[in-house]
């Protein structure tokens, strides 16, 4: 019995030690190599192209660092992994940047504002032609996502409230198949699923993101501390991005074809998706957008929506819980808890050609 207790005690000490080591290794951050996560989406395919063709490597080498773009299959999971500290940066929308990393206390910076959805997100009704017909229906969508935000904005535009409809959380992977089901009469989706559904019988798109331009923004979000300590990383990524943007602007067929193939469509399909994406080809346009007065207003709306739906977390007492900063000293929310920053520093360098 005594020896049994003794060995148990030993085991206990060993496990405690092992767990402490594990806990500290979860914290450890070695910064020789940087990892940035990306997921398949029309506005983010340039990252894949930059990686495949060695543009990333070229820029990384110029600044003497190593950058790896890691493709993650599941969008939310990629942001979760970034928030947990596995990646130094990740592509995401403005709303997810606010509700996942920023609300989770990870100080994040929107390094590059890549594009905004200009029809890439939409509301589709079956056998109905106007948005106001949505009243009383069940609406299938990915709850708490930008689709949900778009729906809220759409309902607002026709004087309806969210309680006038019923939201059914539906996985984005299954939403195309869902439309064929007889139970589904209304849904909100994003591309490429959206255009797939819009092409189906009896489907009509009654509202889309081009009616709220500049409110659903796709961007590259980086850990603020990481880029403050390693401005080289920010410079290399920005340089690589605008090199690919120049190719897209020129309509370089090779580049577009490669991006189309990597996102599982052809050139025509990819061009159709680009049409509903307001991509900032020129760094100067992105700078102008980031510096505009509209951006803080948009983020205020997004913050209010997020708070109303409880996705800022239980710590949030009001929509101002997460503080945000914008270029030229503009701010929103609690300035002692600034967790989301929009900067134009590096995009400006790109537009001035000083990278």
């Amino acid at each position: 019995m005594k020896s049994f207790l003794h060995s148990t005690l030993k085991l206990f000490v060993a496990t405690t030690l092992a767990s402490t080591v594990m806990a500290t290794s979860l914290l450890a951050e070695t910064k020789e190599k940087f990892q940035v996560a990306w997921t398949i989406y029309v506005g983010w395919m340039p990252w894949d192209y930059a990686q495949q063709t060695g543009i990333i490597d070229k820029w990384a080498k110029k600044y003497g660092i190593q950058i790896e773009m890691v493709q993650v299959n599941d969008y939310v999971e990629s942001i979760n992994q970034y928030t947990a500290g596995k990646f130094d940066g990740c592509v995401m929308t403005n709303m997810d940047a606010l509700t996942i990393p920023a609300a989770g206390g990870v100080d994040s910076t929107a390094l590059i504002v890549g594009d905004f959805s200009n029809g890439n997100d939409g509301i589709i009704l079956k056998n109905k032609k106007k948005l106001s017909d949505i009243k009383g229906q069940s609406v299938n969508l990915v709850e708490l996502s930008v689709s949900h935000y778009l729906l809220a904005r759409g309902l607002e535009s026709v004087g309806l409230k969210e309680k006038d409809i019923k939201v059914i959380n539906t996985s984005d992977a299954d939403i195309v198949a869902a439309f064929s089901s007889k139970d589904v009469n209304a849904l909100v989706a994003w591309n490429p699923q959206l255009s797939e559904i819009a092409g189906m019988k009896n489907a009509s798109m009654v509202f889309d993101s081009s009616k709220i331009p500049g409110e659903i923004i796709d961007m590259l979000v980086m850990n603020t501390k990481t880029i403050e300590e390693n401005p080289k990383l920010a410079k290399a990524l920005t340089g690589a991005w605008y090199e690919v943007m120049a190719l897209v602007k020129k309509g370089d067929e090779g580049a577009l074809k490669a991006m189309a193939a990597a996102s599982g469509t052809d050139l025509a399909g990819f061009n159709a998706q680009l049409k509903t994406t307001m991509l900032f080809h020129d760094a100067s346009a992105a700078v102008k957008f980031t510096d505009s007065d509209a951006l803080p207003k948009t983020m205020q709306k997004v913050s209010q929506f997020s708070f109303d739906h409880g996705i800022l977390g239980d710590g949030a007492k009001n929509a101002e819980f997460v503080g945000m900063q914008f270029p030229n000293g503009k701010t929103y929310g609690n300035q002692s808890n600034v967790k989301l920053r929009f900067i134009d520093t590096y995009m400006k360098m790109a537009s001035e050609g000083t990278l």
């Binding site: 496990t15 806990a23 708490l144 309680k163 869902a178 239980d314």
Partner: protein, 273 residues
């Protein structure tokens, strides 16, 4: 020197040894959580126990502002009713198909290859077809469980019937029993505990299908809640839900076992457990 296999722990020691891994996991979690929270007090990945309790109290156990219902209770009830209904239908189908398949050679030749092949189809892979056939409501969720679990039960039961003692069947026939009497008086009573065993073993699979069904399209349920709040990394809600699901599954298993013992005392559960 006693051999290792002859060392038996006392009751108290056995209990202590059984609880130890749980305590260790708890301590490991505490350390990791503490380390991450020291770095970032708003960390969502490994919340502290007090935070978990607070969140559960606030978002799951107090009546929700919108519907006035207690989310945790509502989620549990709807998940359990889907699971219960799905498993019940599967068990009945299993019985209705497994016995003829095992007992009647004509049925076996005709259907056995089909059932064997059908049971290999992964239901998740043919979801779009299931949506069109069963819609996207409650029926679809129960159907997914039934499609996933029934083939397993059917095949298990068929096996048990095939193993059934020939002597009993021949004896009953010499006493004048018809096929129907054989099924009702000999096979069925002896198959019921085996069916319960089978249900018990497929319960894990049933849970997996339930959670997947709720992740695809739902408005409440344990799986729905987990996949919903995953969107903003609310581990303080996900972790207690996972513990709760584990506990429910464990309880269901335990109760089925007790139930089998009580109802069929002649059946030795140890032999096949």
């Amino acid at each position: 020197m006693k051999r290792l296999i002859n060392h038996r722990p006392s009751r108290a020691n056995a209990l202590w040894m059984g609880v130890l891994p749980f305590i260790l996991i708890g301590i490991l979690y505490l350390f990791a959580s503490h380390a991450r929270l020291a770095e970032n007090p708003d960390d969502k990945l490994l919340p502290s126990f007090s935070q978990i309790v607070q969140t559960m109290e606030k978002s799951a156990l107090t009546p929700s502002k919108r519907s006035g219902e207690i989310l945790f209770l509502q989620d549990t009830l709807s998940s359990l009713s889907r699971l219960g209904l799905g498993v019940l239908i599967s068990a009945l189908l299993g019985l209705a198909l497994g016995i003829p398949l095992g007992l009647i050679p004509l049925v076996r030749s005709g259907l056995s290859p089909f059932v064997a092949a059908f049971s290999m189809v992964p239901p998740i892979a043919i979801l779009p077809i299931l949506f069109i056939v069963f819609g996207m409501g409650e029926v679809a969720k129960v159907a997914l469980i039934v499609i996933g679990v029934t083939p397993l039960i059917v095949r298990d039961l068929q096996q048990r019937v095939e193993e059934f003692s020939r002597e009993q069947l021949i004896k009953a026939q010499t006493l004048g029993a018809s096929t129907w009497t054989l099924v009702i008086r000999i096979i069925l009573p002896q198959m019921l505990p085996r069916l319960l065993d089978s249900v018990r073993l497929t319960l894990g699979t049933a849970w997996i299908f339930l959670i997947s069904a709720e992740a695809i399209a739902a408005t409440e349920g344990l799986g729905y809640r987990i996949f919903l709040v995953r969107r903003y990394l609310a581990m303080d809600l996900i972790l207690p839900y996972v513990v709760w699901i584990t506990l429910l599954a464990f309880l269901a298993d335990f109760l089925l076992k007790k139930f089998t013992c009580k109802l069929f005392p002649w059946y030795d559960t140890k032999e096949r457990a």
